[in-house]
């Protein structure tokens, strides 16, 4: 899929998320919208190896959504790819398979997540196993929230992954700079984020989380030669694509009424809010 089509796909995924959250009457829209382009690049850009008809395929790459509260973004992608029927999205949080946070019983989900700070140690264990077993083709990807990086266990995992040279591990940090009650930098500063990961021994990079070409170029250039795990600080916009949601911590979690839904839908159908 070329980058133009990937951008279209990302808009469609955002619409799917919006609809699911509207029906469910609540959900984490803001932090889901901030990672949509990352997920689309990984899953539709030929980066992650998977088989939707055989989610447990032995040679699949591993993907962990450590910021589990953005589960609905993951569900929209997995449903669209055919891991499970798309109608499940209409039953988010409603007596069916999909809850607010992902679990391992959902096809395409490796591990349950939702409590922050758990994913990186688990991902490191997976990457370590592949390194020890010399499964050189396989990679482990993980998406962490920037607010998740307040958790000490993230840094326990980061230190270990670097020490063991887990070059087959790629951590993407969704740097939308907002947590539930405001700006990370006002509340308890996380910058300089890239320097922090570099100082822990990672090959750290920064990128615009909504520039599809840059995302693709970055992921396609990943190699196994650096000897270091790779951290991508993905500078994102919480609520990306909808004018009244963008950079607004109030859209971290909640429902959306009919009027706002229609405005948001219209904006997304027009291609998302433009900053040109």
């Amino acid at each position: 899929m070329n980058s133009k089509n990937l951008i279209k796909k990302a808009l469609q995924i955002r619409l799917d998320i919006l609809k699911a959250v509207k029906i469910a009457k609540k959900g984490h829209i803001g932090g889901s919208f901030s990672i949509v382009d990352i997920l689309v690049a990984l899953y539709y850009g030929g980066i992650i190896r998977f088989d939707a008809s055989n989610p447990d395929w032995e040679n699949r790459d591993r993907f962990i959504l450590s910021k589990g509260h953005a589960g609905v973004a993951m569900y929209a992608i997995l449903a669209d790819l055919g891991f499970f029927p798309k109608e499940e999205l209409d039953f988010l949080n409603n007596e069916r398979m999909l809850g607010e946070h992902p679990d391992q019983f959902i096809p395409g989900i490796e591990v349950a997540s939702g409590s922050l700070g758990h994913g990186l140690p688990i991902a490191s264990g997976m990457a370590l196993a592949d390194k020890l077993d010399q499964k050189v083709e396989r990679k482990t990807f993980i998406v962490l929230g920037d607010g998740e990086c307040y958790e000490g266990s993230v840094w326990e995992g980061a230190n270990f992954a670097a020490h063991h040279g887990l070059h087959n591990l790629c951590a993407i940090i969704d740097r939308n700079s907002l947590i539930t009650h405001g700006s990370t930098e006002d509340i308890n500063g996380l910058e300089p984020m890239k320097d922090k990961w570099c100082s822990f021994g990672w090959d750290a990079h920064e990128i615009d989380a909504h520039n599809m070409d840059d995302l693709l170029n970055f992921f396609r250039s990943l190699s196994n030669n650096s000897g270091k795990p790779v951290a991508l600080i993905a500078r994102s916009v919480k609520g990306k694509g909808v004018s009244f949601m963008e950079n607004n911590a109030a859209w971290h979690h909640g429902g959306i009424d009919e009027e706002k839904y229609n405005i948001a839908k219209e904006e997304l159908e027009r291609g998302g809010v433009s900053h040109e």
Binding site: H118, P121, I122, G125, E156, N159
Partner: protein, 317 residues
């Protein structure tokens, strides 16, 4: 089995572990910078499968889950409070909810680290871990049980919390047919009273039973409840069927511990016999000395347990 009578409990565990791991390249050992003499052989012979992760137990449990989800059988080793309380959420979510093949090997039960205070005591780990669904909790009481647990760590799938001991403990006299599959062993029978104990403190229960027989003519049975979860309900009820009174003895906090599990079982089964729990009741132990000193101080050694129960029996005829 006489050759096991003076074996250090860690040796009992790690010697079996070594043989199992030597035969199975999928077995890994993670340590939170905690060692044992008998572990050095594995470390030397299989350096790729021995990983000291440093001091960071949360990371260790997450790593264990990741390795397990990649097909490995993992043993994760550390001091009791740090591989239980500190990582309770990781145990629950990363291991138990995922059904990971990970064995937490916990050393430091009860007052093992007797001079180190509440930071290092193993008094709360059972209460905490027992609340976790889908985990097996095993508590070593002698070298034979410890060896059996190492074997179970490989043979039995799923997450396990395995307490092992430091130093030598005498071999308990179990029935020859006891293969550690039932979860509980009858060590001796007693018509007047039965003490259900778990872990090293069972040796104090045995001493107490002897004092009570010699000094008070009470016939006291002793039961080793080595698998606290899942509680071997049926077997346990069978073992207390013919005794008049029931006592639990644990080297740990009473709230939510082994005795509480047994109490709930007895209540739900309408077993209306005089019942007492012995352990540490709602108290932090900022006391320092030998393990024997602390057991004596908290009335948990054989002598004090016998005295407590003699008085209790007189009031519960």
């Amino acid at each position: 089995m006489s050759d096991l009578s003076n074996v250090d409990m860690r040796d009992a565990f790690f010697d079996v572990f070594y043989d199992l791991a030597a035969a199975n390249p999928d077995i890994y050992f993670l340590s939170a910078d905690h060692g044992a003499f008998s572990l050095e052989r594995f470390q030397r012979d299989f350096p790729d499968r021995y990983i000291n992760i440093g001091i960071g137990e949360q990371n260790m449990i997450g790593l264990s889950a990741g390795l397990s989800l990649s097909g490995k059988i993992v043993f994760s080793y550390g001091i009791t409070p740090f591989v239980s309380l500190r990582v309770l959420e990781q145990i629950s979510l990363d291991l138990a909810s995922m059904g990971a093949n990970v064995n937490i090997v916990s050393v430091g039960a009860g007052f093992t680290y007797s001079t180190d205070g509440p930071t290092h005591q193993g008094l709360q780990d059972l209460s905490a871990v027992l609340t976790t669904p889908n985990i097996t909790v095993l508590n070593s009481s002698d070298p034979a049980s410890t060896r059996a647990f190492a074997q179970m760590g490989v043979d039995k799938k799923g997450p396990k919390y395995i307490r092992i001991e430091k130093g030598a403990l005498p071999l308990l006299e179990r029935k020859e047919s006891d293969d550690f599959s039932s979860g509980v062993s009858s060590i001796k029978e007693g018509a007047d009273l039965t003490i259900i104990a778990s872990g090293a403190i069972i040796h104090e229960a045995i001493k107490a039973s002897q004092f009570l027989r010699d000094e008070y003519s009470l016939e006291v049975g002793v039961v080793d409840l080595y698998r606290v979860k899942p509680l071997p309900e049926h077997e346990l009820l069978k073992l207390v069927k013919n005794t008049k009174k029931i006592v639990t003895l644990e080297e740990g906090y009473l709230d939510g511990g082994m005795g509480s599990m047994v109490a709930a079982l007895l209540a739900e089964q309408s077993i209306c016999k005089p019942f007492k729990r012995l352990g540490i009741n709602n108290h932090f132990c900022f006391d320092y000395g030998t393990r024997d000193y602390l057991l004596d101080l908290y009335c948990l050694n054989g002598r004090k347990v016998a005295d407590t129960l003699a008085v209790w029996c007189r009031g519960n005829v």
